[in-house]
Symmetry: C2
Subunit: 254 residues, 2 copies
């Protein structure tokens, strides 16, 4: 069994939350991969450097200056701090972007209505390399950055990296893909933190959507989860970072 | 034979010089390791973020804010750009700090007259891990950062990293350690770019020092070279980055 766990920016950017995450993640036995975000810090650092952050539909427009910022923040600051903290807990962590070992190759997103700049759409995950590392007890810590194979880094959504890595490894491992965020799971009542929906399967998903219980930003997250399941991932879990490994949260399966 | 090559900040921070370096480094056959600096960019980014850079004897005082900057700039911006460019040339580059795979563990420099802050003195290079990677045809690209094993990144001099890696690998490989800098080699006349001293051995080093031909910043560089040779490194080369692999520059040996 392989755990692929994605943690959002909010979690890795707060020292105390990061420390909880590192403890919870360290306590998970067996093969595991951590994928992290960091958008909030990127926006902060960009602002201090006088670079405006432009987002369209939650995606960052990555011009040349912004690419430098995200390469620094995701690939350096956040990634290396997580790696050092995991090493201190006895996890043999290795920080990776898609360029390292050519582990994730992307295409620069084609310009249609919007030019997202140096944004990458994942083309190929090198499952062989990742599975070799995992087989040696190494814990890949993946930043939301890939490369185009022509010498350029590309900014790539962390949820996408987590899904693509999980899918690519699904024929070598039984993969559980976990998305950590601020809530305890998918809530049936957004006002009630404890209204976690324990299980979602395709039929309940259709019902919950048509009843309006699931809406907004949760829809692309769950669509993404079902695509991963259809591609061979065993189970998708949506939970709070502090609850990692406790078996709580929402379980999505086919 | 293993080439351990250190390139200074000036080289990796200029797009054209970086492109020459990547071409020259790519043309070197066989096992190789690249160690890079990046101090100039760190100073620039720090200044833009309103953080003052304090240097004592060429070493950066690394307070908590400065540690964030060097972790971003060395571990992220510079390292990943080199990795992406080497990948584009068919080198299977892997960016590493000392925290990744626990490959270089350091002690935080003890406070004597000066508190260097989060500065690391190398304690142990994990030669087994590095030699496994190299044996698989992977090209480690090492940033001047290590960790203390307690969860903290530490700023570490790039020349020191190159020497320590070369020494640690010297009983597994015949190691050539190359320091690239702005000049074509050690010059007998600083005014004359072509006055490269082709060969330095311990006796000529003593003479050149007593005659005042070698002085200033070149003395610690050469002292460092002789320590590496005494620890088993076969040859130290001091040359210009653009001349890599051409057999030019100053050769230092016992």
């Amino acid at each position: 069994m392989l755990n692929v766990i994605k943690v959002g920016g909010g979690i890795v950017e707060d020292a105390e939350a990061l420390s909880h995450l590192v403890n919870a993640f360290s306590s998970i036995d067996g093969p595991k991969v951590l994928v992290h975000g960091g958008g909030r810090t990127a926006t902060e650092v960009a602002a201090k450097l006088g670079i405006e952050s432009n987002m369209v539909g939650g995606r960052r427009i990555t011009d040349a200056q912004t690419l430098k910022v995200v390469t620094m923040v995701y690939g350096g600051l956040i990634n290396k701090n997580i790696v050092a903290k995991l090493q201190a807990k006895g996890n043999n962590a290795l920080g990776l972007t898609g360029a390292d070992l050519n582990c994730i190759l992307s295409d620069r997103r084609p310009v249609k209505d919007i030019d997202y700049g140096f944004a990458g759409d994942v083309k190929k995950v090198n499952a062989g390399i990742l599975s070799d590392l995992i087989g040696k007890g190494i814990v890949p810590v993946m930043a939301p950055l890939t490369h185009d194979g022509k010498g350029n880094m590309l900014n790539t959504n962390a949820d996408t990296i987590a899904s693509e890595v999980a899918k690519a490894l699904a024929d070598r491992f039984e993969v559980i893909l976990t998305f950590c965020f601020e809530k305890k799971g998918v809530l049936s009542n957004p006002e009630d933190e404890n209204s976690v929906i324990k299980e979602i399967v395709p039929s309940t998903y259709r019902d919950l959507k048509s009843e309006g219980v699931i809406s907004g930003g949760m829809i692309p997250k769950l669509d993404n989860a079902f695509r991963a399941l259809e591609a061979g991932v065993s189970k998708v879990v949506i939970t709070e970072a502090g609850e990692l490994g406790k078996g709580t949260g929402t379980v999505v399966h086919l």
